[in-house]
Structures are given as structure tokens and as C-alpha cells.
Symmetry: C2
Subunit: 367 residues, 2 copies
Amino acid sequence: MEFKVTHTCSTSGARCGEMVTAHGRFETPVFMPVGTQGSVKALSPQDLEQAGIGILLANTYHLYLRPGHRLIERLGGLHRFMSWKGAILTDSGGYQVYSLSKLRKISEEGVTFQSHVDGSTHFIGPREAMEIQRALGSDVIMAFDECAPYPADEAYVRNSVRLTSQWAAICRECPRGDSQALFGIVQGGMVPELREQSARDIVSMGFDGYALGGLSVGEDRPTRRRVIQETVPFLPSDKPRYLMGVGKPEDILDGVRAGIDMFDCVLPTRNARNGALFTRQGTLSIKNACYAEDDRPLDEGCTCYTCTHFSRAYLRHLFMAKELLAYRLNTLHNLHYYMGLMTDVRKAIQEGRFAGFCEDFFERSGE
Amino acid sequence: MEFKVTHTCSTSGARCGEMVTAHGRFETPVFMPVGTQGSVKALSPQDLEQAGIGILLANTYHLYLRPGHRLIERLGGLHRFMSWKGAILTDSGGYQVYSLSKLRKISEEGVTFQSHVDGSTHFIGPREAMEIQRALGSDVIMAFDECAPYPADEAYVRNSVRLTSQWAAICRECPRGDSQALFGIVQGGMVPELREQSARDIVSMGFDGYALGGLSVGEDRPTRRRVIQETVPFLPSDKPRYLMGVGKPEDILDGVRAGIDMFDCVLPTRNARNGALFTRQGTLSIKNACYAEDDRPLDEGCTCYTCTHFSRAYLRHLFMAKELLAYRLNTLHNLHYYMGLMTDVRKAIQEGRFAGFCEDFFERSGE
């Protein structure tokens, strides 16, 4: 994987860059839609391509449980399995083990947990996480980490940082595919000293990129912004920086301002399925009765398939009638909104007007 | 609407034709996928266009209840509402009132029933059915009929034929759009004399086309075949003949052989959502464990998006994981199968080898 910074902002940490993987190139800051089970819900690979998606995220935990990484490997890897020509980043499974599985037990070696699918018992540690991601063949793989809950006392977070560093060192030495980039994850909860310590530990091991984990777990936006701003300075500027699981448009702008290059979040896709749609005039809940006879597109001027073909009235009808097409049309629109936002962000940085762009955005959205 | 027969089969009643509507032309025999609530489930208008669909069916009963025909009319009619450029046939609502609604009460004037959506009370008679379809603006509209259940005693069927004729005469005189073709419906259950009487009644009124209703309601295939064969001779040969709600591929071939031009059925789309997929080697249930590692497409040689991009293993994974993409990919394939079947049928008739085509088909499918 190659990464180079192409533009920097003079008034913030924001920057533009380019990543080249074995499955294509894309520009940063980039947003990665989430394809948890090897499918971005309701969309086909063709839909993703047409939406301009260069890289998506798939979940190691889910694919390990079903259909199994061995099966995917035998069928030629995840790209071939899901017929996706672009790049894929897989998470380490750490976060899902903590958030989705039952009866998890953390030891020095890793985590024993019960599957959310069938209740069966499993163990994932750093070696297992690396082996699963090697088998999946994703372009960017993540070190196995311990994600502290929120809130957590300092002793818990300190231990989580220790385990994360210990496991990262093991991941660093595990076999992986020739073209697979390995990112380390910085933990440390909301505690400045622990974030610094975690960042120093992880950076000292030398990874292809660095992620901030353990955010968007319930903390408020100012806290999140503070942690990001305090942590980024400890990360090398020539490697990509990835803010995991974030976020809302305003959180993404906060991240970009602090120097983050990569984002992922279920928000645009999950909200779409719940009828919450992003527009440049704010969020719109399509089930609202006021849209029943609204002949306008979701977002006047939006060029997505949904907005160029269907009215709010039709989209409301599909949603109320639980028609499957509703989920696809809504998801296409929300992803188009996110992709447009990232294009605008990059253009503003490249043209030296990112500060003004943010001001306008926050003024318009009231955030 | 224009209709002309272009080819006839020398060994059966089969024929090819062409229909021209205000929303495009298509060849017959034609299969119409069902877009009950103004959407062929899981597919976009673009998907339908790419699958070669020339005409689809929408349900008057459903659209009347939700979102309401008045709303659709105010928004420019059903074509515009659902962004569909091709032709649309709407049924009269009669069949759905009987099969879906609760507490229905039939009188000489029509049917009072409770909505399956919210339990509210409604009345639809011939005038209401015509007015709803006028408002929807579909290209082919259907007379309001009384569909006898199966089995039904002869007295019930006789009354159903009487009401159907009485209501057809009213429908014939109701106002409708300039470019809307009106089809009459022949009832009569499985009773030859009543089918003949119903056909004579309806044909004497002069409609733009004639449908056989009250079939595929539980009777066996030989009975269905017999009723079709006994009824078609009473229909004029220069008007389209439509076999409502039918059916399986073998039922469609039976119908074509007897001289039917139009078919509709939820089978390809509903089966797709249940994981039952049509292939030229028979039906395949994608959830079967034997497909877990099957790297082949659903149907070797099929040119649909699903078969040219995804393995049975991936489709099984999507289905087992309840991924929304499963429903779209499966539906695309099943509709492609049906469209291919109809293309093959028309070609065989045009090339004077329809008898052999049927023999081959039934031999291969074992039906």
C-alpha cells in the first residue's frame, strides 16, 4: 500500500492524500461504507461503484462466524466472494466481540466469547485476528485491540492500553498477505496520558497506518474532539490516520480538521433503512406525514438515482408499505450524500478554503 | 391500445402478437411481473427496464388502500409516481378483496370489506373499480368481477357469473382515460357451461381484451388446462387473451398452447424472496447446505447480473444472513429466467417449432 499527502491546510491539521492498494486507488479524506457481512446492506457492488466508493469496510467478527473465513479463502478471498473490485479494510473483530457477543471473558491471550448467531463458544486473540484477516485477503487489516467501554475507570483503561500494545506487538509479527497493509490501533479512553502512552507504544512498533479506536462509544462531541486533537500529534504525518466508527457529518469534519484521513460508520446506511435521510438542508425523516404528497426529490439538486427519479411522496409510500426498494433507494441517497461531502471536503482543502467550508457547513446545519 | 397477431402455430392455439400502448410496445405472449404496491418487490424501474420488462401489473386494491388513488392522481398518475416508463395493467381489485380483506360482504352493488392494513371499512363496486383505475392511469384496466372460491358449488358459481356480467356491463359504460384499454373478465369456476355462458356474456359487450379469472385458485393442473381449452374458443381471435394469476412455467406453456397472450404471477418474485430459484435444470433452493461452497453461478450460461457476478455460495450466504441484497439478486435472476422463457416461447412459435419446444421443455423439467 502506498500513501502520500498531496495537500495540507494552512489553518488546521486537515490534509488531502492518495492511497494506492492492490485493488485500486482512492483519495483521502475518505469515507468507507460498512459491509458487515460481505455486503453493504441493500446495495450491489455495481451500486457501490456507481456511487464512487473506493474502499469499504467488512467485519472480521461477522465473517468469521458466518460463512467462515476458511470458506471465503477457499472461494478465492473476500473480494472475489462478494464480487467487489475496489479496496477492502477489515476491522480486527475486537470491537464486535465486545459489543455484540455474550459472556465474553478477556485474558492475556485474547477473548473467549459466545457467538451472537448461535451461542457457540469461540476464542479470538491477536494471532487469530491476523489469521482470519489473512484468509479474507482484505487490503488493509487491523491489529487486535481491547476497546474500553464508556465510561470506564482509569484502571480499566490502563489495562486496556497495556493489552492493546501487547497484542499489537504480536499482530506485527504474524504472517500476512504480501499486499496487505497492517494498521495499529491507539486506545486510551478519554484519558490524555493514556492516549499519549498508547500512541507512543503503537507508533514505536511501526505500522502502515494508525487508527484511533474507542471513540464514538457514548462520549459527547467536545470530548471526542479533544481526544482526537490530543492524540493525532503523536502519529507520524506520513502515514494514514483512521478514526474508527465515526461518524456524523459534523464528526467527520472535526476529524478532518484534526488531520484524520479515513472514516467508517454505519450511520448513512443504517439511518437510510430507518428512513432518516441526509440532505444539504438537514436530516429528513421520510415517514413524516408532511411528505405524503411532497412531489419534490429528497434533496433538490442531488444527482443520485433516487433524487433524479423519485419524489418524497413515493419514497414515503415505499417506506410505509415496507417495500424492499425503500431500503435500497434510501441507502443510495445517503451514501451519495456522504460521498459528496467527502468530495467537497477534499476540494475545499485542495483549494485552500477548508476553514470557510467548515464555517458554512456548521452554520447551515446548526451544529 | 393496438393489438395484432403476427404468427400462429399450426399444431396448437399458440400465437405471437404485438401490443402497442401509450407507454411502449411489447410482444406477446408476455409475462407481467407483479408490482403490488407500485413496486416490483426489491427491484427498481431501472432493473425492470434492463430485464426487458415491457408491462407490469399493479394491484388496484393495495394502491386504493395505500397510498390512495387520489394521491397518486394528484401526483401525476401511477407511471410518474413510480417512475416507470413502460406499460402498466391494473387488476380490478376484485380478487384481492376476496383473498386479502376481512369480513367482506357481497351485494348486487359490489363488495363491502375491511382493509387488511388498518381494519377500516370500504366499499368497491364496478363504478369504484373503474374510477380508481382511471385515477391511477394504467394502460390496461380490468372490469370488476366476482371470483368464486375453489371448490364452490354450482349455485355459487352461477351467481358469480351473473354478478360478473352485470358489473362488466356497468364498467363498460364508466368514464376512463382516452388511452386506457378495458378488458372484460370471464368467470365460471370449473363448470364448462358456466364458463361458456360467462364468455358469451362478456364478449357480447365488446371489450379491448378478455381475461380468464378464477383460475390458479387451488384446482389441479389438468382441470386448469381443461377450463382454459374449453373457454378460449369463445373469445375473439383478434383481441388479446389474458390468463390472470398464472403461473408456473409449465402453466404458462399450457396457456400459450391454448392461445393465451398475457400472464401475470407473483411466483418468480415471491419465490426469489424465499430462496427458490428457477434454472434451466429445475428449481434450486439456495438455502440448501449443498450450496455452501458451490462456486458456480445459479444457472450456468445465464446472462443476468446475478449469474455473471456471484456464486451460489455467496447467494446462500446472503440469504442465510438475511442480507437485503439477497432479495434483489434472487429476484433479478428469477425474472430474467421468466423473460428468457417468454422470449424462447415467442421465437419457437415464430419459427414454427413450438410443439417441439414444449416437448423438450416438459421432458427436461419432468412436468
